[in-house]
Amino acid sequence: MLEIRNLTKIYDDGTVALRDVSFDIPDGEFLVIIGLSGSGKSTLLRCINRLIDPTEGQIIWNGIDIAKLEGQDLRNVRRKIGMVFQQFNLVKRSSVLMNVMAGRLGYAPTWRSITGRFDEADKQRAINAMKRMGITDQANKRADELSGGQQQRVGIARALMQEPEIILADEPVASLDPVLAHSILQHLESLNKDDGMTILCSLHYLDLVQRYSTSVIGLREGRVVYQGNKQQIMRMTDAEFKTIYGEEAERMGGITGEIAEQDITAAGEEIEL
């Protein structure tokens, strides 16, 4: 169980990106975070593995407050939380294999990892991870020679090397076409269902949200404005969607086009904070 308690983030320039955000994520959940651009999705995800230091609040995981950790303790928690990025964030000039191996750095002794001597178990993990993501053939290519979909699979393989309990995915499919998007999300779904990993994922397309999520959080201007479970998501209407995305927002994604025609008066389970 990951518990977010009164999380607030104010950037140095005074931007309030998160305002008193609180919610719980039970283990094994596929939680999707939706919200307009600038609503604080990335900020929230990055606070959880402390790429960003929250200004206030707690992130309690297995009884410890991640928000207070420093140094080695923080790194030990980080290595149990994988992260997948919209821009993949691979080291472009390194090989696919090196990018995947980098996922193991949190476990490897500094000196050994710098001299490139990973132990056999780690090498086997890399082979398995690449096999699972279907990128074994690309192992020795430079990362920037791969297509976007392949790069994102390398990104997931890197996260798999951490043997994580949680995966944070910040718009993992926003740079990909719909077919690839489904393929990537299916991989995440498999990690969620087959391996029991908790997934926190931000998405923009309602159809993808409805297809993959087990619960949804809606953010608007740093506040949680919507919380829903699987059934509620399936019934989500345009009106609710617009509450989250703002009146001017168009629904994206052709598959759910018919829903866009619906009446916008129906109110859902939204909560206003």
Binding site: N49, L51, R78, R79, F85, N89, L90, R93, G106
Partner: protein, 501 residues
Amino acid sequence: MKPKPNTSEEKPSLVPPFVALILSLILPGLGHILARKYRKGLTLLLAFLSAAGLWIWRVTVVARREVGFAAMFTKAIRLEPILILIFVLLVLMYILIALDAYKSAHISKPNSLLLWVTVLVAFFVLGWQIGEIQPAVLIRNGKNSLPLLMRVLWPWEKAVYYPEELLIGSADVVIPCAGVELETPKLEADAPYLTVDPTCGDLSEIGGKEGTRLKVTGGNFSPNTETEIWWVDQVRNEFRYRYGGDYVKVTTDDNGSFQLDVVIPYRVIPTQGEKGYVVWQLEARQVASIGKPVISEELKLSVEKMVETIFLGMMSTFFGVILSIPISFLASRNLMSANWFTKTIYMIIRTILNIVRSIESLVWAVIAIIAVGLGPFAGILALTIHSIAALGKLYSEAIESIDHGPVEAIQATGANWLQTVWYAVIPQIIPPFVSFTIYRWDINVRMSTVIGMVGGGGIGYLLIQWIRLLDYQSAGIAIWFIAITVAILDYVSSEIRERFI
């Protein structure tokens, strides 16, 4: 006067235009200041004062020996008529400033183009005089210095030379024939020799009878070489043999032999000694190059110092790179913004790098020479210091411009600082680092050719020495080597760059 509402200078002048004019005549610029054109007034004041000051300075420099300014002035304008022109421009400036002050107090934005052009022209004419620019000298002296220049441009006669030897064969001639038998000197087998037949005879008489004609045979000389014929008389007086007014020359054949008829010349000095005869020597002389061409000392020195120069550039680049890499990490904002402590280190290192970089390598060389004495080590130190500062900045800028995404991704895996740098930063900075390193190597070799001029080792030391000794040919050799090295370096570095990036 009408205040203009939509210009920035709406406030009216403090003084009426006429007063501004008078004030400006007392002190140029003052009128503008009181017309609330503060910046313009100050600029004009400074411009006028410095132009006038410079002019006075030049007058006193040109007419140094005169006493009193009037005398100096007349002398100076006689020697350097351009000073009159500057004086006229100063007066014009003075008047224009005053007129402009009048206008400025009157309207808010007068057209001051003529004034500014005058100020500019005055300064450029001053610059012309201070720089002692004399195109005529370039044209006049340029022609005369062409032979010198040729020696610099084509110095190779001094690079290789053929050692030469004076070969002399001689034979005694008794004058007049007195029946004396002279001993024939014993010669080494292959030494040049000369025989005469007969071995005695009479001198020519002035305007009269020709002297005895001797058949002269020479051998063992160097082949196909011009040979001179000389007489040495009884008082060791040497004179070159002429016949019919012309010096006689003979060229040896393929075997180094020659044959020639020589008429005993006339002499004023009486030939009769106590013995009744004198002995003269007939000599055949030739200057012959012997042996192989020899490489001159200058060429050897140039080669040695060129090698020293190249290694000087190489070593300083090497040390510079090694030392600047760790420094560059400490000097990049993105890696050092974790807390106030690292931020302070970043600030301090950045400041030091900027200061060190702004001091030229040649100045560092002088400082290094004080510390470690003349020689290549001083040069290496100087170039290393400058390289560290320059590369430290370039490298750290490369680090700052990396894509931060992979850094975050690696951090998110639980990697520590060193691992993050190694896996996410280093792969991104290798291409810019390689290109900056080659660039610096290029600069360092170029710099090392001149760093010797202040005593920091390398070929520059020779060059400046030879120029001071007016040995332009040797200097030419050094310059050629520098040019060749730099050309090769240019080629090599562009090749490497292409391969790598």
